[in-house]
């Protein structure tokens, strides 16, 4: 895996790496992908019906309004103001 691919994946993953770390990560990811490539040796086809047929769906809940977690609790682990999450200004 080359550095360009790692940069592309980092971008998709919302991560950033220093130049030094990027090289090391590219090397490690190359070895990891080599291991993952063993799945290419076998000829198997995925049957989506089998999995979805097996999925256990509990009874659906009644669609009704019930008390939820209070806002103060929801923002208790965040930088907040007036019970709202605070983010950098995104609209000029």
């Amino acid at each position: 895996m080359d550095m360009e691919m790692v940069k592309y994946l980092a971008d998709l993953s919302k991560l950033e790496f220093s130049d030094e770390k990027l090289g090391e990560t590219a090397q490690q990811m190359t070895s990891i992908i080599e291991l993952m490539d063993t799945v290419k040796e076998i000829d198997v086809t995925y049957d989506a019906y089998k999995d979805n047929h097996d999925v256990f769906l509990p009874e659906l809940r009644t669609d009704s309004v019930i008390p939820s977690m209070e806002t103060a609790k929801i923002v208790s682990n965040a930088k907040s103001s007036d019970n709202c999450f605070v983010v950098p200004k995104v609209v000029e």
Binding site: V6, L15, I32, L35, L57, K73, S76, N77, K79, V90
Partner: protein, 483 residues
């Protein structure tokens, strides 16, 4: 018998007969934590004050004669299980100061029995690893040899039980994270059938594979703790409505006629000789108890590690996208000019190297151009693994394998991600197929390090594998770390 060596049934009797109080029991473990955990590093957070409060409440219930199976029993909780008001870090900088505003369903169930929580145990960051060395806060050591890892990712829970810094603990298992550390630390650990235990409030790693389970000094104690945490939960869409039996009910039944399969691939090259010999000797003991041994084959094992990592990392990449530094978790201190920059910086500072690698791998195999070759192929392999298990279970009641290819090793051996992934070969298929499995100690190597064997059961057949593990334990004398 010393308090630290007591099993749950004896503890229950001692509490109910007022031989000891809940406070004395909690104190005995908290004192041991103070004495030994500076070295073992099994806990990230010790909840001493809360433990005494809970012990007092438990004592009131015991005094009224209303105690349940776990009332007043000290329990350690893996730090990826949400505990209301108690910091839950997942051993990650990104959740360093996260205090859950709610309890996981398993905690609600345990608290309804008035357990005494001793604290939150260390683990690999986001449960990604097999050594507990990716923990941002406590790199736990193995109580048998402090120069070795305790396994992982539930290494803190395993070491705490092994060192008798807790009588029982909750762990979680996505690819072997209960069974492998149980094996390395010479204890017993069970990963229940997928859907048996609610995952509500468990910090997600790979949602189709994650399962909460129990760790203890015996199969019976694992069963007693498991009894308390199973059952349907409307908050978990995958939760099963299957009836929950007493998982200890079959303990003591004999093994006569039980068919145990040994897949030849689990005893092939790559498994240490001492491990292989020890597990095969255990198989012979089962034969001596009247069980029938059957040789079988699981050809898909060759692809299991890749299949597992593709599925797990794809799910992890998606699950971990929720960490943005805004709603909760680490937020960069640096000045950010945009929303995007805030997210990228917060995530890059908060996640450790192994977590980042797995996110990259997950997004790689889900990307356009790679999805069919990797992720969809892994989904097909999952179906093949399940089919092979179904075929084997047509001819047997349970499957016996080594829990890990080796005994515990030094932390230096964890530097290469690929060899660490390959070391999961003995455990990952159980998660891929959603089956229950229990690991218990079956011997020690020449250096005295524990060797674990795993019994894999049919779906919802936890009773059977607990019975079988317990039958072996009855004739086995464990050598616990001297502490």
């Amino acid at each position: 018998m010393e308090l630290k060596d007591m099993k749950l049934r004896d503890m229950r009797k001692a509490l109910d007969s007022k031989e000891i109080s809940a406070k004395e029991l909690a104190e005995s473990y908290l004192d041991r934590i103070k004495k030994y955990d500076g070295e073992i590093k099994s806990y990230i957070t010790v909840t001493e004050e809360l433990a005494y409060e809970q012990a007092e409440k438990a004592q009131e219930i015991i005094d009224k004669g209303e105690a349940k199976a776990l009332t007043g029993i000290p329990v350690a909780i893996k730090d990826n299980i949400c505990t209301q008001g108690v910091r839950t870090t997942c051993a990650s900088r990104i959740l360093e100061n996260f205090i859950p505003p709610y309890d996981a369903t398993v905690m609600e169930k345990l608290n309804s029995q008035n357990i005494v929580m001793l604290g939150k145990t260390s683990m690999d960051e986001f449960a990604m690893g097999g050594s507990t060395q990716t923990s941002a806060f406590a790199k736990t050591v193995n109580p048998y040899n402090k120069g070795c890892v305790p396994g992982g990712s539930s290494g803190g829970s395993a070491a705490a039980v092994s060192a008798r810094l807790a009588p029982v603990a909750l762990g979680t298992d996505t690819g072997g994270s209960i069974r492998q550390p149980a094996s390395f630390c010479g204890i017993t650990g069970i990963k229940p059938t997928y859907s048996r235990v609610s995952r509500f409030g468990l910090v997600a790693f790979a949602s189709s594979l994650d399962q909460i389970g129990t760790m203890a000094l015996s199969a019976e104690d694992c069963g007693i703790l498991l009894n308390a945490i199973c059952g349907f939960d409307m908050h978990d869409g995958t939760s099963s409505r299957e009836a929950v039996p007493d998982f200890t009910a079959k303990i003591g039944e004999n093994m006569k006629g039980v068919k145990i399969a040994l897949p030849k691939e689990y005893f092939a090259e790559g498994i240490d000789d001492e491990v292989r010999q020890s597990v095969l000797a255990a198989a012979e003991q089962y034969r001596a108890m009247g069980a029938e041994l059957i040789e079988c084959s699981m050809p898909s094992l060759k692809y299991a590690v890749s299949c597992y990592y593709l599925l797990a990392c794809a799910e992890a990449a998606s699950n971990l996208s929720r960490y943005d530094g805004i709603k909760y978790g680490h937020r960069t201190e640096r000045q950010c000019d945009s929303y995007e920059e805030l997210i990228v910086r917060s995530r890059s500072e908060g996640f450790g190297d192994e977590v980042k690698r797995r996110i990259l791998l997950g997004n790689y195999c889900l990307s356009s151009g790679y999805y069919d070759a990797y992720y969809r192929k892994a989904l097909a392999l999952r179906q093949l693994v399940r089919k092979e298990y179904n075929d084997i279970f047509e001819k047997c009641d349970m499957i016996l394998t080594p829990t890990a290819p080796t005994v515990a090793y030094s932390p230096e051996k964890t530097a290469d991600p690929v060899s660490m992934y390959q070391a999961d070969i003995c455990t990952v298929t159980v998660n891929i197929a959603g089956l229950p499995a229990i690991s218990t100690t079956c011997g020690y190597d020449k250096n005295g390090m524990p060797i674990g064997m795993s019994l894999i059961g049919k779906k919802f057949a936890e009773q059977d594998i607990i019975k079988a593990a317990s039958a072996f334990e009855q004739g086995f004398t464990p050598v616990l770390p001297r502490m």
